[in-house]
Symmetry: C2
Subunit: 415 residues, 2 copies
């Protein structure tokens, strides 16, 4: 390889993330009903106290706790039922000493009442209520503002909205929310041997499939994936395709042609564009050492190797964090944990790993009868699509490590 | 509570899952490009060997390994470059003894060649190639059928299709796949105090929000969520709403009214429908003990308590596994792990738990500087929407356990 500076994965990724300016981050207003899994752009503030009044938490009898302070099974206290309040009732009711009101769950507590007696602690007959035990104040009552107070932050910005967040935000009265715009990512498949999905390939051709893998990941990460027409291995065609893609996208992925071979044009194409900057070409990792990380006109352009395994590995290592930055995805550890699901397993075979290169090894997982999870490594060639499909996750072997042994405990990132 | 048989969570769920017949499971054909996250209904079989020919894995020189068996730096072997083959070239080329062909990554290997020499191991000048080391057979070559063999199972049915599965299935030539039909789940919000999202509530009314939480979960689980009009607390209205929902759905969730109060009509409504069967009404869990599990006309109908926390807890405990069964979601442990993300944490406070009830306690997670994750329990009232939004996950305390202590290691299911 000529003209290739070798970087560690960490240094290359850090430089790249730093080079991506926050100015890419824009928002849009969406109806809260359509906001599932979108990333919140601003804090959601509580508008009014919740509940907006003292409310019964159960079906029972609203009482004054002082009236029944000395009630017991042997010596019950008798109250007079003066009214019944159902949820949604709008008339204001007031109780006086020794009075009770039959109340349904969720209903407004009558004035002077401070607790709700459970049906099992009372006996009602016509308008008479016998109470068999003392009831402490606020029993079975949700007090005004006890759930939420006006002015407090309800949901912090950059949360990826979960179903319960949607329900909560609707519940406190919002109809529109500001969310990060979905980054548009154009994927450019390059390679003269490729044919589109709707063409029957002859034996020398390959159906272009990397683009669909990348599009799927982009969408899972909250972006919009566009696959451009296939581009031949030709400098001008590659350059034109990148340039056109940049006009309509927030990020560009060039699939194939990122190496330094005679027919690899991604680097030359990017260098020939105005306002382009190469952050790294070549990273000490396996597979995927030929990745190209660039910025053109303030937008990330990544050159991914064409072999499927390298392609997907480089996307996961570099494309994913970059896209998450563009998409506004938070750094909150539990949300990251949801995006990158990890699982502990035991290695089923020794693995050799090249010194000085971070190694990403695909594994297939098998759960043994005793619940132990075994990880079977695939050391197959990175051109093999099948290992991507057959594997359940990947383990990362640091650059300084030259191998792992059968029985070693490994952390598998599920994919 | 009258007429309520108390079941454990496990026995209720098992009886319910058994009662749901597999005949609900139907398929549809979809374009593979649209199949991301869909559940495969049948095995995908490999049609032809992959690669379909011996292929160069790198840019280099196709050679016969026997010709260079004794090559070394001190004593290189000279071959004649007779041709150049690029990816997509269609003419058949053949090499003889002491001949080589310049070849590009992915191209068809010439007849008689059995390896590709790396550029760093050779020196090319005009049509002369000096080879400086021996090359073992099959070096840098993907052999015909080495990746996949015709007739083998490529992806097993019931896999939830990942981006790489989509790419792989496209790569082996499929255009359509059979997937499980998305179950249609109608959610019926009940409660006379509820108003729809587009109505400004007065102080006695509540904006109906549980439906949106349930819809979000249904969609995350691969179903189609429909929210019906709000139904008042009225037996006939509830019955009619369930009956109408069943006509167009595979599953019905009735939100609110599942208890045994005077204004709870879900049980009565379900019992009054033809071909209805109550599997459980009342389960020893907290929150959510008033859940109703029923089958009407072969379709699951679940009565969920109206309080948001109970509502969501019951959906997660009962609705989720039922919906997964309808949606065809596999039992493969690693896929389940992706659906229910777990994380170990340390409890930050003692929790008391009722004996004989399975307890689901929401927790908020905080990561300490040393990387230790602390779980802060919310013991707030189950009517409080805010704790659902503020919590990051839930811990399950078994029925026989009466509490946990500060510092205990707990497994948090993120939600």
């Amino acid at each position: 390889m000529t003209n290739v500076s070798i970087n560690t994965v960490e240094s290359a990724l850090n430089s790249y993330l730093e080079a991506i300016s926050d100015s890419c981050l824009v928002y849009e207003n969406v109806n809260i009903k359509e906001a599932l899994s979108r990333i919140l752009y601003e804090d959601i503030i509580i508008k009014t106290d919740q509940p907006p009044y003292d409310r019964a938490l159960i079906d029972g009898y609203a009482i004054r706790s002082t009236d029944v302070a000395y009630a017991s099974y042997s010596d019950p206290i008798t109250l007079k039922i003066i009214e019944e309040i159902n949820v949604g009732n709008k008339e204001k009711i007031k109780i006086s000493a020794k009075e009770a009101v039959k109340i349904s769950k969720g209903a407004f507590l009558p004035e002077n009442a401070d607790a709700v007696a459970l049906p099992e602690d009372v006996q009602a007959e016509n308008d008479t209520l016998k109470v068999f035990r003392s009831i402490i104040p606020d029993s079975c009552v949700a007090k005004l503002g006890e759930d939420m107070k006006a002015g407090e932050v309800f949901v912090k910005k950059q949360r990826k909205l979960r179903p319960q967040d949607i329900g909560g935000i609707i519940g406190i009265g919002y109809r529109q929310v500001k969310v990060f715009k979905k980054p548009v990512v154009t994927i450019i498949p390059t390679g003269s041997e490729l044919v589109p999905i709707d063409v029957e390939p002859d034996e020398y051709q390959i159906i272009s499939s990397n683009g669909y893998i990348l599009k799927g990941f982009v969408e899972q990460l909250g972006g919009v994936g566009r696959i451009s027409a296939i581009v031949n291995d030709d400098l001008n065609q590659v350059r034109r395709a990148i340039s056109r893609a940049l006009e309509v996208s927030d990020m560009v992925l060039v699939s194939g042609g990122s190496s330094s071979g005679s027919r690899d044009y991604t680097l030359k194409a990017v260098e020939s564009l105005e306002k382009s900057k190469i952050i790294a070409h070549g990273v000490s990792m396996r597979p995927g050492s030929h990745v190209l990380l660039a910025i053109v006109d303030n937008k990330p352009v990544i050159g991914l190797p064409g072999h499927p395994v390298s392609n997907m590995t480089c996307f996961n290592v570099f494309g994913k964090p970059v896209l998450r930055k563009l998409a506004g995805t938070p750094r909150s550890f539990w949300q990251e944990r949801k995006d990158t699901i990890k699982l502990d397993a035991f290695l089923a075979k020794n693995i050799k790993s090249p010194e000085g290169k971070e190694d990403y090894v695909r594994v297939r997982l098998i759960e043994k009868e005793d619940g132990k999870i075994m990880a079977y490594p695939y050391t197959g060639k990175s051109s093999f699509l099948s290992t991507l499909v057959k594997s359940h996750g990947v383990i990362r072997i640091p650059a300084e490590c030259t191998g792992l042994y059968e029985g070693d405990r490994v952390e598998v990132m599920l994919f």
